[in-house]
């Protein structure tokens, strides 16, 4: 019986993988054929099904750009960067789009000396950090086990303890990133006002145009509190922005 259940799960996994693979191929084929709108639809469906892959967001960003939807393209590429922080194509395309938006803004927040966590996330995604953590755990335990059988090799114990300390730090980092992520998004409407509060009756502080990148800090009453790379802050209507990283928009 157990064997049958296991077999069913395995088959189900294989079927899902095949399905996903086919859908990705179909989406790419639509892009190659020049049907960018169809490609966008396919990539969005893949994402909506819970498959978060940096390359999918990357392809989505290019497809949006072909449709002249700069805001969506920017938001997609920012999501791609979140999952692929070191990918050169992502960096290139992001810079390409950044140079063509109306507002002089950057997709990189100025770093302060205590922004160690964000410094790590510039180079490693959480996914990669978790793999690294697992590897550290395995290595630490291996060293400590070896020490049990070779008590004279004290350095094994020291190395093992050090690696365990790194594992703990890594877990802390991942916990912080999970609880306090940096939600990058972009303005998708041609222009939008930024208010001093979460109502459109508040004072207009400034106006942003399509493609302007921002970081979402908070959401209230259908408004997003955003921060720009030049330090400006304000509130924008949620429907005028787009972030693939933020759960509710």
């Amino acid at each position: 019986m157990l064997r049958l259940i296991f077999l069913l799960f395995a088959v189900s996994g294989i079927a899902q993988a095949t399905d996903l693979s086919e859908r990705v191929v179909i989406a790419n084929q639509a892009f190659d054929a020049g049907d960018y709108r169809q490609a966008v639809i396919h990539y969005q469906e893949i994402i909506a099904d819970g498959h978060h892959n940096g390359h999918i967001y990357y392809n989505l960003g290019i497809s949006y750009h072909r449709l002249q939807e700069v805001g969506e393209s920017m938001a997609s590429l920012l999501a791609a960067r979140h999952y692929l922080p070191r990918d050169p194509d992502v960096a290139f395309n992001l810079k390409f789009v950044e140079e063509r938006i109306s507002d002089k803004l950057s997709t990189v927040m100025p770093r302060k000396f205590y922004d160690v966590l964000n410094f790590i996330s510039d180079y490693l995604s959480e996914y990669e950090v978790s793999f690294a953590t697992l590897a550290l755990v395995g290595l630490a335990l291996l060293l400590l086990t070896l020490y049990l059988f070779h008590r004279q090799l004290l350095f094994l114990m020291k190395m093992g303890v050090l690696l365990l300390a790194l594992v703990v730090l890594s877990l802390i980092y991942l916990q912080v990133k999970a609880r306090f992520p940096e939600y990058w998004g972009a303005v998708v409407s041609p222009s939008t006002k930024v208010y001093s509060g979460p109502r459109d009756s508040n004072m207009t502080l400034f106006i942003l145009h399509e493609g302007a990148p921002f970081v979402i800090k908070q959401e209230t009453n259908g408004f997003l509190k955003i921060q720009l790379s030049d330090g400006k802050k304000g509130w924008v209507a949620a429907e005028s922005g787009r972030s693939f990283l933020y759960p509710s928009i």
Binding site: A17, V24, N28, N53, I62, Y83, V97, V137
Partner: protein
């Protein structure tokens, strides 16, 4: 008047200049460049060393030998040594032979300085008929332009046997460049009724600046063979008397005129002479990527050595690459310097089309016409066929110009199938893995620390006992050792602690571990027996060793 004074002075100096017993004299004090002066240093007595003649600027000296003589006058022996030197002048003027010091017979003697004068050669080029050896120099012209060649002819007339002739040039000048023309010619010529053997040389002289330029004298140092006085028929053949003579040409001043200003709208080749300028183009129809060769030739009478390649005017769309110039200069005996210069240029069109190569205007100075002559060369056209694309030439690369920009293309492959998401659930999973791993490690540690060691110890108890017994012989003296080994065995086997106790206390411990009461009693009895032997000195210890072994085996069998 000068001649008279000179003669009187010479007469005075012909006498011995007496300075002790060391004297110096010359055979004459006035002469020409052709003459040689004989300096004689006479030493009477015993000199410490040989007198040395200092260097005299403008005079060349060579030793003419030493003579020794001894005379006996009135019973007094007089020794005399004479040192002779031949002095020849390189230039005209007055020269001073300085004082010479010498120690003779322990006393220092010093000669007086002697002044000799080398005068201008008084005879003219048409030497008197009585002269057996003379030099005649002729120039093709007395006036020339800067850069214009002048032919110099040098004739050596001689009626003597010429054994050796070496050319001795006077001080060189940077204002003139000379080029030998051909080989020397020898022939016979009658001059003023006398037959002479003539050796003729020619050279081209090119003035390098304007002004009155002194052409350096032509000087020959010759060795002639002279017939013996009163010699017979064979004397001419076996002439043994040789004489060294110097033959000097007359001075010559060349008047050099500067060139007039060159025309402004031409390429000045900066050459002087009579030239013809031509050009040729090897191919007037090309395809892109191929080149044509333009050859420019300058030939004629004059010196072209060091001539620079003329710079062609820039032609849009054509790259010009000049080749190394080829210049050949012939030293023609009759005509002088005959030169030919060839300049080649590679013309490489960068794209297809018809190119007008334009006109080349080259100028040079012709002394015969006293003006610049201009050659107008119409280079014609060049037709280039082929693609409009640019031909890349080495050295002509340009920075890549960006004419468009676009995004990088989409990603493909299996990397799109991985899930990169990171959620809090995954964090909990990761933490759980970490904690479980730590727990597993802790369990392993405990097991190894406590159980594994005990198990190992228990399984090895009998072997350890056997090893300990082997080092103990079965004698009465070793009973305490056997007792210790037995207790250790019991401790390992039943994991007992604190074996240094009495047998009654041991009984309680063993009773917990050994369920077989009969075996337990036997163990306790055996321990009590050890106690009696070890502590009381009573009991039979003869076979304690064997009985202990048997009991241990029994325990191993039953526990």
């Amino acid at each position: 008047m000068k001649l008279v004074i000179g003669q009187i002075f010479a007469l005075f100096l012909a006498f011995d200049v007496v300075a002790g017993s060391f004297t110096a004299r010359v055979d004459k004090t006035v002469g020409t460049l052709e003459d040689r002066f004989v300096l004689t240093l006479t030493v009477n007595g015993q000199a410490d060393s040989k007198p040395s003649l200092p260097e005299i600027d403008g005079l060349d000296s060579s030793s003419a030998g030493t003579s020794h003589s001894t005379s006996w006058v009135n019973g007094v022996i007089n020794r005399e040594v004479q040192y002779r030197y031949l002095l020849t002048a390189n230039r005209q003027g007055k020269f001073t032979i300085p004082s010479i010091e010498l120690v003779v017979d322990g006393k220092r003697y010093t000669t007086l300085p002697i002044v000799i004068e080398v005068q201008e050669q008084v005879q003219r080029a048409d030497m008197p008929a009585t002269k057996d050896l003379f030099l005649v120099r002729e120039f093709s012209q007395e006036t020339a332009y800067v850069g214009e060649q002048v032919i110099e002819t040098i004739k050596l007339y001689y009626r003597l046997k010429l054994l050796q002739a070496n050319r001795l040039d006077s001080k060189k000048t940077i204002d003139l460049a000379t080029f030998a023309l051909g080989e020397e010619r020898n022939y016979r010529q009658v001059h003023r009724g006398r037959s002479y053997q003539v050796t003729e040389l020619r050279q081209a002289v090119v003035p390098l600046r304007a002004g009155q330029l002194q052409v350096p004298r032509f000087i020959l140092d010759v060795v002639v063979g002279l017939a013996r006085r009163g010699g017979g028929f064979f004397d001419d053949f076996f002439s043994s008397r040789q004489e060294r003579r110097r033959v000097v040409s007359q001075p010559f001043t060349l008047t050099v005129k500067p060139l007039p200003p060159a025309p402004t709208d031409v390429i000045n080749l900066e050459i002087v002479g009579d030239f013809s300028i031509n050009f040729s183009l090897n191919d007037r129809q090309l395809t892109t990527g191929n080149s044509a060769t333009l050859t420019l030739t300058v030939a004629g009478l004059g010196n072209l050595q060091g001539m620079k390649a003329p710079q062609l005017t820039k032609i849009a769309g054509i790259k010009v690459y000049p080749d190394k110039p080829q210049i050949n200069v012939e030293h023609d005996r009759q005509r002088g310097l005959v030169a030919r210069a060839t300049f080649k240029y590679a013309l490489l069109p960068t794209s297809a089309g018809n190119y007008d190569l334009g006109e080349l205007r080259l100028a040079y100075f012709n002394p015969a016409s006293h003006e610049f002559e201009i050659s107008n060369l119409n280079l014609g056209t060049l037709e280039v066929e082929g693609d409009e694309e640019r031909v890349v030439v080495a050295g002509s690369q340009q920075a890549v110009q960006v004419i468009g920009a676009d995004l990088s293309t989409i990603h493909r492959g299996d990397r799109l199938l991985a899930d990169h998401s990171w959620t809090l659930d995954k964090w909990w999973q990761l933490s759980a893995i970490f904690v479980v791993s730590l727990l597993c490690y802790a369990l392993l540690f405990i097991y190894l620390r406590f159980f594994h060691r005990r198990t190992t110890r228990r399984s090895r108890a009998y072997r350890l006992f056997r090893e300990a017994q082997q080092s103990v012989s079965a004698t009465s003296a070793n009973v305490p050792a056997v007792d210790r080994n037995f207790r250790t065995y019991l401790g390992d086997k039943f994991e007992l602690r604190g074996l240094a106790v009495t047998s009654l206390e041991m009984r309680d411990k063993i009773a917990i571990k050994v369920t077989d009461s009969e075996l337990c009693k036997r163990i306790v009895d055996h321990l009590q027996k050890f106690d009696r032997i070890v502590f009381a000195g009573r009991g039979d210890c003869a076979d304690i060793w064997t009985k202990t072994e048997q009991l241990v085996k029994e325990i191993e069998k039953r526990c």
